[in-house]
């Protein structure tokens, strides 16, 4: 995670979904400590691009490469993917959930507890996930990123459902990740407050 020669790059990337071409000839380069913000109208392919980077969607043409990372692990294993779905089980408690993900993704139980506190969920630790509000769920999903360190964060509209205090917390959290030499690729319709971020606008030509 402190490898400072980390670099995520895409060359001549294309994406096809349901028989339709979503984007093509996409190129970008993000170095350690940098963030890339994806913007663009609905359906322009932001979520699709994030899934491609995470290895969760076929790459039509071109390639995505992470250099300077762990050569033994696939790109997806070095990345945290935060999508629209939050991968939470209603019947598990908040603590059980984050514990499970920490252990499964290769972290420790102690880190799991700390991650809950980072997201101000410590008080809710024993509640079943079914009892959480939309924003509390989102915070629990975000706590995964704190529990297990991974150099690359792929965030799909991370601020959705968060209240102002939580958005502030998320910003500080992202800034710390970048300062530690991590990379963030985030899709958003709003300002994420990543001042220095590169930005990539998808599907602009389609806009009315």
């Amino acid at each position: 995670m402190t490898t400072s020669d980390l670099r995520l790059s895409a060359r001549d990337l294309a994406c096809e979904r349901g028989g339709r071409l979503v984007f093509e000839s996409l190129e970008f380069d993000v170095a350690a400590g940098e963030a890339l913000v994806l913007t663009g109208p609905n359906g322009s392919g932001k979520s699709s691009l994030l899934r491609q980077i995470a290895g969760l969607l076929e790459i039509g043409r071109g390639q995505i490469e992470l250099t300077g990372g762990d050569p033994e692990r696939a790109l997806g294993e070095q990345a945290h993917y935060l999508g629209h779905l939050d991968a939470l089980k209603p019947s598990m408690s908040v603590l059980e959930t984050i514990r499970f993900w920490a252990l499964y993704l290769g972290g420790s139980a102690a880190a799991a507890q700390a991650a809950l506190d980072d997201m101000a969920l410590g008080d809710l630790a024993d509640l079943p996930v079914a009892y959480l509000s939309a924003g509390q769920r989102r915070r629990l999903a975000l706590a995964r990123l704190a529990a297990v360190p991974r150099p690359l964060w792929l965030l799909d509209e991370p601020t959705v459902a968060l209240d102002q205090a939580s958005v502030g917390r998320l910003r500080a959290f992202m800034a710390a990740h970048l300062a530690g030499g991590g990379i963030i690729v985030a899709a958003t319709h709003l300002d994420l407050g990543l001042g220095t971020a590169k930005s990539l606008r998808l599907g602009a030509e389609e806009m009315a």
Partner: protein, 225 residues
Amino acid sequence: MSRAFLALLLRDLRLAARLGGGGGMAVFFFLVVIAIVPLGVGPDRPLLASLAPGMLWVALLLAALLTLDRLFQADYEDGSLDLLSTGPLPLELVAVAKALAHWIVTGLPLVVSAPLLGVLLNLPSAAALPLTLAMLIGTPALSFLGSVGAALTVGIRRGGLLASLLVLPFYIPVLIFGVGAAAAASGGFEGEAGRQAFLLLGAVTLASFAVGPLAAAAALRANLR
């Protein structure tokens, strides 16, 4: 990696226990299915006895089917499967963990309760042991083969029919050899036929261990992308 495997296995067991999909429910279901057979075919005791192994196997299969279709589907629908596939555990082992959890939660309790429920169907006591043994050998195959079907159906919106129909044919060899093994061993001729049926059943199960996780992982990969 083995820690991740254990974590996943324990999570699935815990979820099953909480949701009430656990062993108790499977056994209760088993009991109810067994109870309706005599109501349908009549109370003739020798007839029931001859039906017993077959019906116990059908009940087992039904309980497995009813729980299998959500083996991966639930994790797919809430996004867990995406994250599971980005962990250090290869998808093959994810499939093993899930099939194993499924067997512990449904297969095992059913095997244990089968001889007791057999009493209700007037199962000859000589047949109880062979039947239980056959089920012990055969049920893991239901979970492991089932995981292939479950993986194939995951997330497929339109091809649903084809995929779900794929589960059942996989079960038929288990069913045939399972019923055959129980019948042969209890029917008296302890010798060649009974041994052969058990061997075949064991072979099917071993094959399911080898093929199941590989095929399930391949199906998951195809469906996740």
